[in-house]
Amino acid sequence: MTRASPDPAVRIKGLGRRFGDVVAVDSVDLEVRQGEMLTVLGPSGCGKTTVLRLVAGLDTPDAGTIEIGGRRVAGGGASVPPERRRVGMVFQDVALFPHLTVHDNIGYGLRHDPDREVRIRELLELIDLPDAGRRMPHHLSGGMQQRVAVARALAPRPDVVLLDEPFSSLDAALRTQLRGDVREILRAAGTAAVFVTHDQDEALTLGDRMAVMVRGRVEQVDAPEVVYGEPATPFVSTFVGTANLVHGEARDGFALTRFGAVRLVGQGSGGHRGRGLVVLRPEHLEVIEAPDGPADGASWRVLRRRFAGTEILYEVAAGDGERLWVEAGHAVRRLRVGDAVNLRLREIETVFFGAGHAPPHSTGPSGERAQRLAQRPDALDRLEVERIPEDDDDLADADVPVAPEVGRDLGR
């Protein structure tokens, strides 16, 4: 169903939308290619849903233009109403028509289609509910309802399908399963899609490419592995995955950190010079157990531990107050709070942010801190001043093993 047209499915240029004093969308440029799934990741309130509603025509932009399938639909004098945009949408709360059967829900947009019945049957097969046509929406489970909503949106063969956090009201197990289902369905249909979410797993696993938004702006658009491996800004590095930002000095495509030199990748990696920040993922550092006692010269101490199923993350602190999140392999015995460890840099490539970016700082698993900070307009600027509190230092470099209750305090 991919069209032979060279135009992208959606092209957004300089898009802006404000609500009173709040800038919800701030000069956003974005392209959705034919047949691709673009995920948009951002903390709640970052403007990602507003972008979707602007594309759908449910809201009107204050600035910028939107093209769908090469046709201008908003901005520059154009204002195509939603019913003529050829856009399908799947909403957070499903929004099936409660008074119509599954069959009539899917067929709703096919009023003038001579092959209506064939198309409905086709879609019922596609969403794997071939016999559900006569059932009413409220008799279906949440997952089934969401599949019907996808089929309904796909039925009139739209140029693009917009999905607005469609799984956020479902439980975790169902969400994972439905994620796979919907990806299959959309791939089979070959329709371009924009999938908005605040769940980074969803954005990373589902997207052909992903866009990261914060405070109404797009920070980066790239393939998920590139966004993770070569984040464009400190915010992206800490929001997508867990990241430590440590001081480094760049030169000739390398940066020198307290752990040694790392090879730099990403945009302009060869041209960096001078002091800046280096992104170190937890898996970039090897944890080496120090024998008992501080006399060994171990420089890091375990502050807290976070078990995430497939991996164990430890937050460790150095004598100078620097804190990092590191990942310990299974070879390492389970560490306890207060244990002394050494860290060694693995052979890696990573990115460097020159002067003007935020100072050394690490985030907890899943970027919770970045999420929290991103809620506040001035958050990123405040990273500058939010240094690790002084009174934590003496705990971290205490001579005696840190007592458990101290660890608990630190975990506060």
Partner: protein, 545 residues
Amino acid sequence: MSALARPRLPLRPFTRSGRARTAGDDPRAPWPLAVTGLVIALLALLPLIYLVIRALGVEGDALGFILRPRTIGVVVGTVALGLLVGISTILIGVPVAWLTTRTDLPGRRTWAVLTAIPLALPSYVVGFAFLAFFGPRGTLQGLLAPLGVERLPSIGGLFGAVLVLSLVSFPYVTLATRAAILRLDPAVEESARLLGDRRMTVFRRITLPVLVPAIAAGALLAMLYALSDFGAVGLLQFDSLARAIYLQYGASFDRSLAAVLALGLVAMTVALTAGEGRLRARAGTYATSRRRRPPSIVALGRWRWPALAFCTAVVGLALVIPVGTIAWWMVRGAMSGQPVELLMDVAIDTFLVGALAALAAVLLALPVALLAARHRSRLARFVESSAFAGYALPGIVVALAMIFLATRTVPILYQTMALLILVYAVRFMPQAIGGLRAALGTAGPRLEESGRTLGDGPIRAFTRLTLPFLRPAFLAGGALVFLTVVKELPLALLIAPIGFDTLATEIWDAASSGFYARAAAPAALLVVLSIGTVALLLRAEEAER
């Protein structure tokens, strides 16, 4: 009959899935509670049971009576009244609901409140006000007299009855429709637009069909109100079944024939109630909004003026004319030296009956609420449904049955205050059950169990721990019963001892004999109480949500 004597949405029994079952819930009630509950259920069902017995024992040709042209005429008239009220309440109620939820109408909240108040006005008060305003020698004629208008056409009959009953019962449609609109996720309409429909098409294909069950449920409640009404049809002299029953009873050749008519009326109300329940369940499954995104607002533009004119007309007819007319006649009465002491005596008598009935009603409601909240046996369900079934009977039917019963079986009770208060208490206790049940839900059995483990006996634990939680529900329920009883007409008219007047019977007597000035003062008092009732009901609804 008074507006609040009808079953109302927040006062219905809870559904079976009302409360999650937790470990330790005993489905079987202790026997003293079970017996008490059964006795109350029996009391509530007594009018219906006795009516059936009486109708079966009719002497002479019952079939001939039913097939008499006059009987058939009354039935046809009643059906016509119901249908016309149903249609006109939809025509008034739906636009009001839509304007106050989905448009930028100026003063939306104020309009919403003003259009809810008429529901609490007793139908006979509005009927009296319309007679006194539009009637042959009414206020309007007085205003038009300088223009040479000697006489206005009569406001009575079907037209007057439909007008008055529609104006007091359209809020049923407004409230049901408003609730359905607010429960409709805006994304549903947005989806329809993205699938290719224009705004008007979405309204026709989606919005309206989704709201239909709620609108119809509201209209059926209005029809139920119209069929059960006694006061307005009585004053406006329209022969609906309710009035025919009263007249047949008064004619007293064969009072059993009145019982036959009453059973016919009961059959109609049962059908309407069943239909309303089904439609309301359907409306529930159509509720799609989980996050309460506010509905999208339509800019009225030039249509603002017709919309404002419409709302003004509705409030003018349903509120301003009745209240204004009553005030006008009250002033006229006061200037012509209408005695105030008489009103004081009647008011005190009425409030006394209301207070005693309210006390008795909450006491009767407690065992029913306990059974319903704590025990999930078939007996508990039977007791609760019986209590509500008695509540759903038209007042005139209950009055008739209780007179028969008292004269035949316990003549000592006949014509006593005790009987009147008992009947009131049994009839209106459901108004207190809902709140008590909800309160018992928050003060669960775990509370008493913890008291028991600390050394209290079962009764002591209940009085020390649970009872304090029920205080607000007792007060709210009691207040509601009080306000309802104070406005009640048919039972007061037929059961109260001879010579005992309530505010309602005072208005009835004066208005039906054309003494408008004498009826105005008690009517004004009831209007003030009614507005208090609306405030109370709105609070009760909030609390039960």
